[in-house]
């Protein structure tokens, strides 16, 4: 006989358990540096022209390596090609709010 409600797990904790079940390797530090560093580095693109040209020279006859699955993390082995980088064009079109 239930004379009182079962002690419910706070919803936040339940959600946390769900998340940990999906991503067991998630950082122990709650919300900490990882987020902040990611936030501070928004917009960072890594490109070394030396690496790029050397790779181009070495691979004259071969295909240049194409972008990996994560286009945002352009570092290390992957050398971006001009085709990988998104076009940076300013909006020459008038805002639709003014239309």
């Amino acid at each position: 006989q239930d004379t009182q409600k079962d002690k419910a797990i706070p919803p936040e904790r339940a959600e946390e358990a769900k998340l940990k079940a999906k991503y067991p390797n998630l950082g122990q530090k709650p919300g900490g540096s990882d987020f902040l560093m990611k936030r501070l580095q928004k917009g960072q693109k890594y490109f070394d022209s030396g690496d790029y040209n050397m790779a181009k020279a070495k691979m004259k006859n071969k295909q240049l390596p194409s972008a990996g699955p994560d286009k945002n993390l352009v570092t290390g082995d992957h050398i971006p090609t001009p085709q990988d980088l998104p076009q940076r064009k300013s909006s020459l079109v008038t805002s639709k709010l003014a239309g």
Binding site: P10, P11, E12, R13, A14, E15, E16, K18, L19, K20, K22, L26, P30, G31, G32, S33, F35, L36, M37, R39, L40, K42, G43, Q44, K45, Y46, F47, R88, K89, S90, S91, V93, T94, S95, K96, L97, A98, G99
Partner: protein, 461 residues
């Protein structure tokens, strides 16, 4: 008039909607900031494409006594362009993060607009006359053959179609290593602050080649970084006081008279945490996304992921009021984390205030008594501090009959969904209202959905 405490709840009606109808939203069209000027006559929006659009309220129509003036396009210009910092290999977005208007001093209007790195002072001026009757030039600009000039005339100014011109008067650049999240004009109307993730700088509006750093929370070792600055604002009356909020849910009040570098706060506002409720999400959802002083400066309001808190500047250890914006999301935090929505930065704003009344009233009730903030599914919320009543409204083209009162919405958190209620799982998390603004003097509000701007007014009569 408004804000004078309780009484009638405001009945909001649709007035106008700006922007394209199509579902396919171009990134550039995403609205990133909305701000009324000090008189409320002008309404500015900034977008991800670096463009600013300014709307002007029409003079009230004598024949249509039941509606206030409509807002129509007054000026539009490209404020910021995308840049690439080759030295740091950093892409600089042209997105306008904030717009702040200067109080009007002469015929022209001035505003500050900022992207992640550069603040610009724009002058918006009208030209409605042009000189005609030159001796050496034709009206179309071609030069006249001097030998054909036999008489002299004095050029005169004649009316022309109104032209509104925007020109950049000052560019405040190269002072921020990190991304600017706030700008705030001081009550001295001569200086302003700009805040990025780790630093706050003080500028003089006339001087672009120098800026004073007044807050620096960058640790010597970046591995020790635990919090960042999320918003900053000057006190509305005290020109040496400002506050800044953090990603850990704290607000620090600083006094520039205390020292040149305000790393030591004068006051620290923080609500004690219930350790039994702590979870992986606690810190993320406590991050403050916006801070706004009340009109008197006695209170300030902060927005975190799930709530709005009102703080009395005289009490640091807890807020005086807390309003839940969408508490039903607490049991959805896992998926909101996965789709990144948990990082959405909602803004908040106070109702406008009739400053004349403020000065006349002897016991100075704080005329900031209604709070507005956005949510998902194109819902936005209002909380009345006096009556303790709240309402959820929707910005949607389906409700666009002028002078028809908006129907309150209700989200069903769990259990049986009543008719007209919407269940949490049906909410569209792509339809976020992050930016709202309240006319400084009247009950007119501007609500930005992803790419549309809605204007609502209270039903007059």
């Amino acid at each position: 008039f408004l804000g004078a405490g309780g009484g009638n709840d405001i009945q909001w009606c649709f007035s106008q909607v700006k922007g394209a109808v199509d579902d396919d939203v171009a990134e550039a069209d995403i609205i990133s900031t909305v701000e009324f000027n000090h008189s409320g006559e002008l309404l500015a929006t900034g977008d991800k494409g670096g463009r600013v659009v300014i709307f002007q309220q029409e003079q009230e129509n004598k024949t249509q006594s039941h509606s206030r003036g409509e807002y129509n396009v007054y000026s539009t210009f490209q404020s910021h362009e995308p840049e690439f910092d080759y030295l740091k290999s950093l892409e600089i977005e042209e997105k306008i993060n904030k717009i702040r208007w200067l109080p009007q001093k002469n015929a022209a209007q001035f505003l500050l607009s900022t992207n992640d790195k550069t603040i610009k002072l724009w002058k918006i001026s009208e030209r409605d006359k042009r000189p005609e009757g030159y001796n050496l030039k034709e009206e179309d600009g071609r030069y006249r053959d001097p030998t054909t000039v036999t008489t002299l005339r004095v050029p005169v100014f004649r009316p022309m179609d109104l032209m509104v011109e925007a020109s950049p008067r000052r560019i405040f650049a190269n002072a921020h290593t990190y991304h600017i999240n706030s700008i705030s004009i001081n009550s001295d109307y001569e200086t302003y602050l700009s805040a990025d993730d780790l630093r706050i700088n003080l500028w003089h509006l006339e001087i672009t080649d120098r800026s004073f750093n007044i807050v620096d929370i960058k640790p010597a070792n970046m591995e020790e970084l635990t919090e960042v600055i999320t918003a900053a604002e000057f006190h509305p009356n005290s020109c040496s006081t400002f506050v800044y909020s953090s990603s850990k849910g704290t607000i620090r009040l600083c006094d520039m008279r205390a020292s040149a570098l305000c790393d030591r706060h004068s006051k620290l506002f923080e609500e004690p945490e219930d350790p039994s409720n702590r979870s992986f999400f606690s810190e993320i959802i406590s991050s403050i996304s916006d801070v706004k002083f009340s009109h008197s400066g006695r209170y300030m309001m902060t927005r975190d992921y799930l709530s709005v808190k009102i703080w009395d500047l005289n009490m640091e250890n807890r807020p005086v009021e807390t309003y839940q914006v969408h508490e039903y999301l607490r049991s959805k935090l896992c998926s909101l984390y996965e789709n990144d929505c948990i990082f959405d930065k909602f803004e908040c704003c106070w109702n406008g205030s009739d400053r004349q009344v403020e000065f006349l009233s002897l016991c100075t009730p704080d005329l900031s008594n209604i709070v507005m903030t956005g949510s998902y599914n194109n819902f936005f919320r209002m909380f009345d501090r006096n009556t303790k009543r709240d309402v959820t409204l929707e910005a949607s083209r389906e409700n666009n009959k002028p002078r028809t009162v908006l129907k309150p919405r209700k989200v069903c958190a769990s259990g049986k969904r009543k008719k007209d209620e919407i269940s949490v799982d049906s909410l569209d998390f792509n339809k976020k209202i992050l930016h709202t603004a309240w006319h400084p003097k009247e009950n007119i509000i501007a609500v930005a959905t992803t790419n549309n701007l809605y204007i609502f007014q209270d039903k007059m009569n």
